[in-house]
């Protein structure tokens, strides 16, 4: 059946409210036919003839490389493409009987809810419960129903304990839970989520997967775009891949662990040490008498739940967070009093969400900032920029503006911008967020390669398969400091 030809159109005379027969006996909540879309000014289409049915109670997982079109497809399902983004569109998208390509999102009547990739951008109001109530308020629900929906949504998202908190004070993982609750509060028939576990720890991701399965069992259709398939494949009814704007069934996960370079047999001297550091945020103590050492030639994974202090430890190491007591040594130098610019280039930190904070107009300039600080000019500069860009798969886009890139591509730019300075201590905070498996493999190889050159590498991550593939040893944030530990079990190794 060709969509749009053999259907009976009911409802609004202007054709904006369309109902379709249900040939398979299951209720179809979302139907996409021959959808093609190109963003304004883009040379190539983001989607090319995508067709998809999503049934009530079904969970569809979308995988595929960064920039392949997953987020665009989710936005089309949510009515944001082309209404909000503009661009050239053809084909059809219907959600719960509404023509999502013709109507603005607000006119879809809450049939669809979308959780964006960056939870920071999803909050509209200042406190958790008010923000979660924003959607039901827009729907004009009575006050008692708003209260019920907010309670239920917070419970479903595992965020009841955040009630009354200010959004500004939440960690990334907590914000992600609130963003999910804010969408659940509309009780949408179709729930679409873009990388929903990217900032969640293992337990929180498992809890979210359980919640999504429960919602689907109640009849909600769920579409999830996720690079970390091992977290959502167990609950999926179908797994598809979006590559170069085309939709296809996903191949089974690659369970083979990439054989990486063996760890250094001869441990070097400590490249960086943290000695009895106390640190916190105001009254809240995060680290107490914390000590650790990173050795050149080894990759150390730092794991721990959201809010356990991983980022604080990394910021203390880099000089961005002043400890209350204790000291930080790079080699034999006490650098506790030095700001980050004076720890550069011996120590390089790629912070969380670095793609948001790029400094220049082109990728080449961005990678070159560190070289300017080092006084590297001319051919040597160009060669190093090209090398760093090639390592991260960016060499074909050196003149593009960073804001034109996908989230995963931006993060690679930020990584290249630090790696180009060749720090002897390399610290990465959640570096695989928004990265597809192929890029993760590349990153693991790059990290191992730097370690083989004698660099001490510390990676704070929730990504267990990545840590298993990349790290020689594991530190777990526990009781206010890093202690040697083991990784939690991974469901499927996709690296």
């Amino acid at each position: 059946m060709t969509f749009g030809e053999e259907v009976t159109v009911h409802g609004d005379p202007d054709g904006t409210h369309i109902q379709y027969p249900d040939p398979a006996g299951r209720q179809i909540v979302a139907r996409v036919r021959d959808l093609a879309f190109a963003y304004g000014g883009s040379a190539s289409p983001a989607l090319r003839g995508v067709s998809l049915d999503v049934h009530a109670g079904e969970i569809v997982v979308l995988e595929g490389p960064s920039g392949g079109g997953k987020s665009t497809l989710l936005r089309a399902l949510a009515g944001l493409v082309p209404d909000f983004h503009g661009g050239a569109v053809s084909g059809a998208v219907e959600v719960d009987g509404h023509n999502a390509l013709a109507l603005p999102p607000a006119a879809l009547g809450g049939a669809v809810g979308i959780v964006f990739q960056d939870p920071e951008s999803q909050a509209v109001l200042d406190t958790v419960d008010r923000d979660v109530a924003f959607g039901p308020q827009n729907a004009g629900l009575p006050a008692h129903e708003i209260v019920r929906r907010v309670r239920q949504a917070l419970d479903d998202a595992g965020a009841t304990h955040l009630t009354g908190r200010r959004i500004d004070e939440l960690s990334s993982g907590e914000r992600q839970r609130v963003a999910i609750a804010g969408v659940l509060a509309r009780e949408p028939r179709l729930l679409v989520l873009d990388e929903p576990t990217s900032q969640l720890d293992h337990d929180a991701a498992t809890a979210l997967a359980t919640t999504l399965r429960r919602l689907a069992d109640r009849g909600t259709a769920v579409v999830i775009a996720e690079h970390r398939g091992e977290r959502v494949r167990p609950i999926a009814d179908r797994v598809l891949t979006v590559t170069d704007g085309l939709l296809a069934p996903a191949p089974p996960p690659d369970e083979a662990v990439v054989v990486l370079a063996p760890p250094s047999e001869v441990p070097g001297t400590p490249a960086v040490r943290v000695l009895a550091v106390d640190a916190g945020h105001g009254e809240r103590r995060v680290m107490t008498e914390a000590s650790m050492a990173l050795v050149g030639g080894r990759v150390t994974a730092l794991v721990g739940p959201n809010g356990s202090g991983k980022t604080t430890l990394l910021r203390v190491l880099a000089g961005l967070h002043c400890p209350d007591s204790g000291c930080v040594m790079i080699g034999d130098d006490d650098v506790s009093a030095l700001p980050p610019e004076l720890r550069f280039p011996r120590l390089g930190l790629v912070p969380q969400d670095p793609g948001r904070h790029l400094l220049t107009e082109t990728i080449a300039d961005e990678i070159g900032v560190a070289l300017t600080s080092l006084g590297v000019e001319g051919d040597a500069r160009s060669a190093r920029i090209l090398d760093a860009a090639r390592d991260m798969g960016l060499d074909h886009m050196l003149e593009r503006h960073p804001l034109d890139l996908s989230v995963g591509e931006r993060e690679r730019v930020a990584l290249a911008s630090i790696l180009v300075a060749r720090p002897r201590v390399l610290i990465l905070d959640e570096p695989t967020r928004g990265m597809d498996p192929a890029r993760k493999r590349d990153l693991a190889r790059i990290i191992r390669s730097r370690a083989a050159d004698g660099v001490a590498v510390l990676v704070a991550t929730h990504d267990v398969p990545f840590a298993m593939a990349a790290a020689d040893e594991v530190l777990v944030m526990r009781q206010g400091g890093p202690v040697p530990g083991e990784l939690p079990p991974a469901t499927v190794l996709t690296i």
Partner: protein, 296 residues
């Protein structure tokens, strides 16, 4: 960095600021304006998150400018204090009356800015936006985006600065001008970030049904003892201000000779304004609890 806005019910604070503002603009009495400015500064500095310091510096600079410029552009007053050489069009003969008028205008500037800043520092921004939304929904949309953007951009500004420092750009040491020169290019990514964040927030609002139709409200908690006390203080101040305006106690003449500053009416009015603002700061600063409705 403190949070953006307090968690207090906006109505008592809006009314208090309104009454105090009316007094600031209707009174020329130097004593009343000085008391009002002092009270407004206390009210601002007592707000949660201590957000008033930068605003206060700006207000003090503006007030100092008014104080200095008023005698230079005015040519009135009987009591000449001193004469300074001045280019044409400016007045170098400084009188006590001109200084008095300048001081009053400076106090008015300080009081007005501090009161406005205190309103945003104490009042719950979400509830203020909800109030704006009732009378001007489109303005509320713009305000909501702006309100969300301010704290986000503060974080972005800090993150951009940290990104630069992690790549060896020295922003915290060295001569001030050199640091400013190195920091100036960072304004561009911040503007880019602001535009992108604005689009993101607008997209999130659209996706969450903003503009769908008539909005309803989450029930808000009842006013607690501190907010009710502020409301009572506002009522008393409103009565006193009304009485003072009615009997002409807010009038004051600077020229040609300055009138009496210390009069019973001006002392009473100034004391009342100062007391209302200081007591309101104490009442609102008291931990909430009485009259609080459980959150959903």
């Amino acid at each position: 960095m403190g949070p953006m806005g307090g968690d207090r019910a906006p109505m008592p604070i809006v009314l208090l600021v309104l009454v105090a503002g009316i007094l600031a603009f209707t009174s020329d009495q130097p004593l009343v304006l000085a008391a009002l400015a002092a009270g407004a500064v206390v009210f601002l500095l007592a707000a949660p998150g201590h957000p008033g310091h930068l605003v206060l510096i700006g207000a003090l600079v503006s007030a100092a400018g008014v104080l200095i410029l008023t005698p230079l552009v005015s040519g009135q007053g009987d009591l000449v204090l001193f004469t300074i050489p001045m280019p044409p069009l400016l007045n170098g003969e400084i009188t006590a009356e001109e200084l008095g008028a300048g001081a009053s205008a400076a106090a008015r500037v300080l009081a007005t800015v501090a009161l406005a800043a205190a309103l945003f520092a104490w009042a719950d921004p979400d509830r203020m936006l909800a109030g704006v939304g009732r009378v001007a929904p489109r303005s509320a949309l713009v305000s909501a985006i702006a309100a969300r953007l301010v704290p986000t951009l503060r974080r972005d500004a800090r993150a951009i600065s940290e990104t630069a420092r992690l790549r060896g750009i020295v922003l915290t040491t060295g001569p001030r001008m050199a640091r400013a020169r190195r920091a100036a290019p960072l304004a561009l990514p911040l503007v880019g970030s602001a535009l992108e964040r604005g689009l993101d927030v607008a997209e999130a609002m659209a996706a969450r049904g903003y503009g769908e139709g008539r909005r309803t409200r989450l029930p808000e908690r009842r006013m607690d003892i501190g907010e009710r006390t502020t409301l009572a203080l506002t009522g008393i101040l409103a009565v006193v201000v009304g009485w003072a305006i009615a009997i002409g106690a807010t009038d004051f003449s600077f020229f040609p000779t300055m009138g009496p500053i210390l009069t019973p009416a001006s002392i009473a009015l100034g004391a009342c304004a100062l007391a209302a603002l200081v007591l309101a700061a104490l009442a609102l600063g008291h931990p909430r609890g009485v009259g609080r409705q459980s959150a959903p």
